[in-house]
């Protein structure tokens, strides 16, 4: 069965600095999507970035980028120039190739210090 593991329950970063959140997953599929979602205290889950497994190029969205290592089944999120508004719970998620089902990791709480 597919699983998603986030081994860092909590992380902290100084404002304007860079932080990397880790995620590993296990699957036997070759075609799938990976996502990072942000959930601030307001609870609304917001998509940060997505990666198609068939694409070798790492996805980038402004200050957010991923390091996708398909062979190692690793999918880390790098946040550059951290801002106070980045403070939230971050979830790594795997999406099956033929359904809309998302498998989420346990989450990493990111604290941004001024």
């Amino acid at each position: 069965a597919q699983t998603v593991t986030q081994s860092q329950p909590e992380m902290s970063v100084q404002e304007a600095e860079t932080v990397t959140l880790s995620c590993t997953y296990d699957t036997s599929e070759s075609d799938y999507y990976l996502f990072w979602y942000k959930q601030p205290p307001s609870r609304q889950m917001i998509l940060v970035i997505r990666q198609e497994a068939y694409k070798q190029q790492n996805a980038t969205e402004n200050r957010f980028s991923v390091n996708f290592q398909k062979a190692a089944k690793s999918f880390s999120l790098k946040i550059s120039d951290s801002q106070l508004g980045d403070a939230a719970m971050y979830f790594c998620a795997y999406r099956f190739s033929n359904t809309g089902k998302l498998i989420f990791g346990q989450g990493t709480t990111l604290q941004v210090k001024p």
């Binding site: 998509l47 190739s97 359904t99 809309g100 989420f104 989450g107």
Partner: protein, 114 residues
């Protein structure tokens, strides 16, 4: 444009009761998924509906059921509530069921079972 809406925002029930949660997808979106998020954990997939048909079911007991209406809104029903059903219930909508389609999440319904 309005995002995904869910009602009610908060709900308190007692063990053994029944509850109905409602979700309205983004206009034009035909797929709705339901997730249960226990405090401090990642969301767990419950159901996915597309074009009014169930397209996926997570590992939840038969006490959980759902349906999708002709206007693509959806209801999640939980019978014989248990204390362990206390959680944030998230609804997500997407345009179609394609794997790459982004799922947009609603703010959730906080259910407390006493």
């Amino acid at each position: 444009d309005a995002g995904v809406t869910q009602s009610p925002t908060h709900l308190i029930k007692t063990r053994g009761q029944h509850v109905t949660l409602r979700c309205s997808p983004i206009s034009g979106h035909k797929s709705v998924s339901w997730y249960q998020q226990v405090l401090g954990q990642g969301p767990q997939f419950i159901f996915q509906y597309y074009e009014k048909e169930e397209r996926g079911r997570g590992n939840f007991p038969d006490r959980f059921s759902a349906r999708q209406f002709p206007n693509y809104s959806s209801e999640l029903n939980v019978n014989a509530l248990l204390l362990g059903d206390s959680a944030l219930y998230l609804c997500a909508s997407s345009l179609v069921q394609l794997v790459g389609n982004e799922q947009f999440f609603g703010p959730g319904t906080r259910l407390t079972v006493l």
